[in-house]
């Protein structure tokens, strides 16, 4: 299919747009909003990363050297909130904004003005959240899970944190509604559901998860608010409530939330591996069904986050079996990626390096997840560094690597320039080595008995903590290379062709690079042989 002039906006459509800051404040264009999301996400990635480095610096050796325990707890709490709600989730929304309309042949997102709001709530939410660090009594320090009664001991920051979480939730739900409305209504003729690229599929399912669980989180934190300020006793045993009920509600949100952060990553990797293997994705239909199965299972496994609260035996068995089942659809995905690479004709540009590292390291996170599912063994693993290692393996070389892979993969389309391949590879190798030096020893620490969220530790944990901290600084500083590659690519570089990757398929590659502000104002023709890029 060729791109004709009428699919690209004529220039006279644009000259009414405001310039400068007002342009970004008022934009309803999916590409500009996508860029805003991605820049916001990268900023928060560095803010949350700095907090992580403060944590790792304190844990470099036993004793308290740099921060006080209460401030340490604020750092662990804020690091999680910033990374989850500020870095990973907005990055995926940014990618969705940029890519979904281009992938399904739509002119824009279905609800462009709401799209503007979805984004612009975020900077306010995070300004509010981060400002709590400077309030009387400091920021929240009870962990991002906000378990009562501990979280109710938070000082002046408490209502601000709750309001910030509400704002993030509103933003996420609006973004999710927009994604669903766009995918269900704005597909080009011939783009049937089962021809959609997997990134679109995974986002469709993720959007439903978001709509289902963000209100649950909102309910839980509102109950915390009324428990603290309005005399209710939802979570106070003395008043007839139950602190464990909060954990049930929280993790009913929390477990689907985990998949909100990984399903779009599955989508990205399923776009990139076929491109660089020059071979169609193996088992497209089974990938879609596996994603849907994972999403369904995510609603019935929340209890595995709280095996140690003293559930009845039947409850423990149910959550153990349900959790183990997740390994099946997840395994199907890994096997499909493996089969896609098999007998391909592979090259290893930076996006592919990150995608392959994703498959390997995410699988390691999956293995430790399977171990954690075994309830009796979890009585040892729970709340130790083994858990920290597990979820960082699925979130950093998992979700974050997929976002980086996506950035390298689509940067030429966004900027019209090729990124610096040498620097990209340098960034990959520093990150891949750094992330393993950082997180692999944490498995050993957890098994040896180190609890999580402690600012100081017994001497037998000193060796691996030091190694982990060294890895943290290597990984953290490597991200400056990433920042430089992106800036360099925006500012210039070798001009990118419409389709810079030999093996790429999909509608976005039929557009010129950089993609013009308005695209597919006339729906494109779908070539059935191009199905599910």
């Amino acid at each position: 299919m060729s791109t004709t002039a009428d699919q690209i906006a004529p220039a006279h459509d644009e000259h009414h747009a405001p310039r400068g800051l007002l342009r970004w404040l008022t934009t309803t264009n999916h590409k500009e909003i996508g860029t805003l999301y991605l820049v916001f996400s990268l900023t928060m990635f560095f803010v949350g990363g700095t907090m992580a480095l403060i944590i790792r610096a304190e844990l470099f050796q036993p004793g308290l050297q740099i921060v006080e325990p209460y401030f340490f707890n604020q750092m662990t709490t804020m690091h999680a909130l910033v990374m989850i709600f500020g870095a990973v989730m907005p990055a995926f929304v940014g990618l969705a904004n940029w890519l979904i309309p281009m992938m399904i042949g739509a002119p824009d997102m279905a609800l462009p003005r709401m799209n503007n709001w979805s984004f612009w709530i975020m900077p306010f939410a995070f300004t509010l959240l981060l400002s709590t660090l400077f309030m009387d009594g400091g920021g929240p320090a009870g962990g991002w899970t906000l378990y009562p009664p501990l979280s109710l001991q938070t000082g002046a920051a408490f209502p601000f944190v709750i309001l910030a979480i509400h704002m993030m939730g509103v933003s996420s739900v609006m973004g999710a509604i927009n994604v669903i409305a766009t995918i269900l209504n704005l597909r080009a003729p011939g783009m049937t559901l089962m021809r959609m690229p997997l990134f679109v599929w995974t986002w469709l399912i993720t959007a439903y998860l978001l709509i289902a669980v963000m209100p649950v989180l909102a309910g839980a934190v509102t109950m915390l608010l009324t428990d603290k300020y309005f005399g209710t006793s939802f979570f106070n045993a003395a008043g007839g409530g139950d602190p464990v009920m909060f954990q049930h509600i929280f993790w009913f949100f929390g477990h689907p939330e985990v998949y909100i952060m990984i399903l779009p990553a599955f989508g990205i990797v399923s776009q990139i591996i076929p491109t660089f293997a020059r071979k169609p994705l193996f088992g497209y239909a089974s990938m879609v069904y596996a994603t849907a199965s994972i999403a369904f299972l995510s609603f019935i496994v929340w209890g595995h986050h709280m095996f140690t609260v003293g559930m009845p035996l039947a409850g423990e068995l149910f959550f153990m079996y349900a959790t183990m089942l997740i390994a099946v659809p997840t395994g199907v995905k890994v096997f499909n990626w493996m089969a896609t690479m098999w007998r391909g004709s592979m090259t290893f540009e930076t996006p592919m390096l990150f995608a392959v590292a994703f498959v390997v390291l995410f699988t390691i996170g999956g293995f430790s997840g399977l171990m954690l599912a075994i309830a009796p063994a979890d009585f040892q693993y729970q709340d130790t560094y083994f858990v920290v290692a597990h979820f960082h393996y699925v979130l950093v070389p998992g979700a974050v690597f997929s976002i980086m892979a996506a950035t390298y993969y689509w940067l030429p389309k966004w900027t019209g320039h090729m990124y610096d391949e040498k620097l990209g590879r340098l960034h990959f190798w520093c990150s891949a080595i750094g992330v393993n030096v950082l997180f692999f020893p944490q498995h050993f620490l957890g098994l040896a008995g180190m609890p999580r969220r402690i600012p100081d530790y017994a001497l037998q944990f000193a060796g691996f903590n030091m190694i982990s901290s060294i890895g943290a600084f290597l990984f953290g500083l490597s991200q400056l290379i990433f920042l430089w590659v992106v800036i360099k690519c925006i500012r210039g570089g070798e001009p990118a062709p419409a389709k810079p990757w030999e093996g790429a398929h999909g509608l976005e590659w039929t557009l010129p690079s950089p993609a013009p502000l308005h695209t597919f104002q006339t729906p494109p023709q779908i070539d059935p042989s191009e199905a599910h890029g």
């Binding site: 036993p62 004793g63 308290l64 050297q65 740099i66 921060v67 006080e68 325990p69 707890n73 009387d136 009594g137 400091g138 009664p149 001991q153 000082g155 002046a156 106070n236 045993a237 139950d242 602190p243 193996f282 088992g283 140690t308 003293g310 035996l313 068995l317 153990m320 183990m324 099946v328 395994g331 890994v334 096997f335 493996m338 690479m341 007998r343 391909g344 004709s345 592979m346 090259t347 392959v356 390997v360 293995f367 399977l370 171990m371 075994i374 009796p376 009585f379 040892q380 709340d383 130790t384 050993f444 040896a448 008995g449 609890p451 969220r453 402690i454 100081d456 017994a458 037998q460 093996g503």
Partner: protein, 403 residues
């Protein structure tokens, strides 16, 4: 732990010196795996853990093996031409069914272990474990001393000097307590856990499990320790500022040693109680008070200055900037003067705030936690330290009268 600012500043940074790193005894220890522990449950958990670990390793070798073979051989630079296959129902079916079978194989031993762990019947003795911010209390529910249940608190023994690098760290740095939990070997011990303030989690890896201590609720577990020895653990659920500083130490003894320990402990507690009826000197009370105050220092700090916005100072005339919900109960109880500075009331007012606490704030009621002697001593200490010059000497008998 003690300073009231978040950053430790230049002195702290300087402590991260290279010589300190390499002289540390810490480097002798790189423990890789879970402890097999000292109970039948912990052995079963260890075996389960290893079984699943090796299954994961085997799957990993196959999957990564195929991937890396493919990465090496199916490269464009080696002239590989891409095949175009992209579907096979048979293969898809196989890699759905085989993992299900493997999972069933894992679930069977896991279920058996879980069922055994939940069976708390026929226990020989019951220990009640209560989590506090930031210490543990152990009550021997089957043992009486002077008409009351035998019980005591267990506090961190590691000194702040060790934590802040002003003294060398002991071998069991952060894992030492003043009074360990003593258990008999070979007996089935039922352990019930609860908490007084926030959720804690009681965990000794050698026993094979941890169990959350939840305020208002009671959880049950059991253990039967096979060999005498000292077993150490820590609180495993984030419980506030000093979560990392509330260790657990169990000393497991053979039956005769345990019986002797029980008798000695009971005698000691009785002697302590008797001392409450006699007149105490100011010096005695000040010395005792200084040690009791370590409990208070977790929040109010060792220098009595508190933490702005969270924990009020205990020094008369000091300002306390905090949100209104924290200030209001202090004002009601007469602990703030007109200018909003701290005012220390009469002995009775003071004793009341310590004994009853302030509901809805981190200030718990200490009437149940501290003895008459301890409350009398700590009040005397607070009222005569850091520039407080109230000069009172509070006698244990006066506290007894207030109960």
């Amino acid at each position: 732990m003690t300073a009231n600012r978040p950053w430790r500043g230049a002195r702290g940074m300087a402590a991260v010196g290279v010589p300190a790193l390499w002289s540390s005894a810490a480097f002798a220890n790189f423990q890789l795996n879970m402890t097999p522990g000292v109970t039948s449950v912990s052995h079963r958990i260890y075996e389960l853990h290893m079984l699943i670990f090796w299954i994961c390793v085997a799957i990993g070798i196959v999957v990564f093996g195929v991937m890396f073979w493919s990465i090496v051989h199916h490269r464009k630079s080696r002239g590989a031409v891409a095949a175009q296959f992209h579907e096979s129902t048979k293969v898809e079916l196989a890699w759905t069914v085989v993992p299900v079978l493997i999972l069933v194989g894992m679930a069977i031993p896991a279920t058996k272990t879980l069922v055994a762990m939940e069976d708390t019947a026929d226990a020989d003795l019951t220990i009640k474990v209560t989590g506090y911010q930031w210490k543990w209390r152990y009550d021997y529910l089957d043992e009486k001393v002077g008409g009351e249940t035998l019980g005591f608190y267990s506090n961190l023994k590691t000194t702040p000097q060790q934590v802040y690098g002003d003294a060398p760290k002991d071998e069991h740095y952060l894992l030492e307590v003043d009074r360990p939990l003593v258990l008999p070997v070979g007996k089935k011990v039922r352990i019930v856990t609860t908490a007084a303030d926030v959720i804690h989690s009681w965990w000794v890896p050698s026993l094979g499990w941890k169990r959350d201590a939840i305020p208002g609720f009671i959880n049950e577990s059991w253990t039967r320790i096979e060999q005498p020895g000292t077993y150490r653990g820590q609180c495993a659920e984030l419980c506030g500022k000093d979560h990392g500083f509330m260790p657990i130490v169990i000393v497991a003894m053979n039956e005769p040693d345990y019986a002797k320990w029980l008798a000695d402990t009971k005698a000691g507690l009785l002697a302590e109680r008797d001392s409450a009826t006699r007149e105490w000197s100011r010096d005695e009370l000040m010395a005792k008070g200084a040690s009791v105050f370590q409990t208070c220092a977790a929040c109010h700090q060792a220098n009595g200055q508190g933490l702005p916005g969270m924990f009020p100072p205990l020094v008369a005339g000091q300002p306390f900037a905090a949100p209104e919900p924290l200030l209001a109960p202090l004002r009601e109880r007469g602990f703030l003067d007109g200018a909003g500075n701290i005012h220390i009331g009469s002995v009775t007012q003071h004793a009341e705030i310590v004994m009853k606490g302030i509901p809805g704030t981190p200030m718990s009621a200490y009437a149940g936690q501290l003895s008459d002697v301890e409350i009398a001593a700590v009040l005397t200490y607070i009222r005569n330290s850091w520039g407080n010059t109230l000069g009172d000497v509070v006698q244990p008998a006066a506290i007894k009268a207030l109960r």
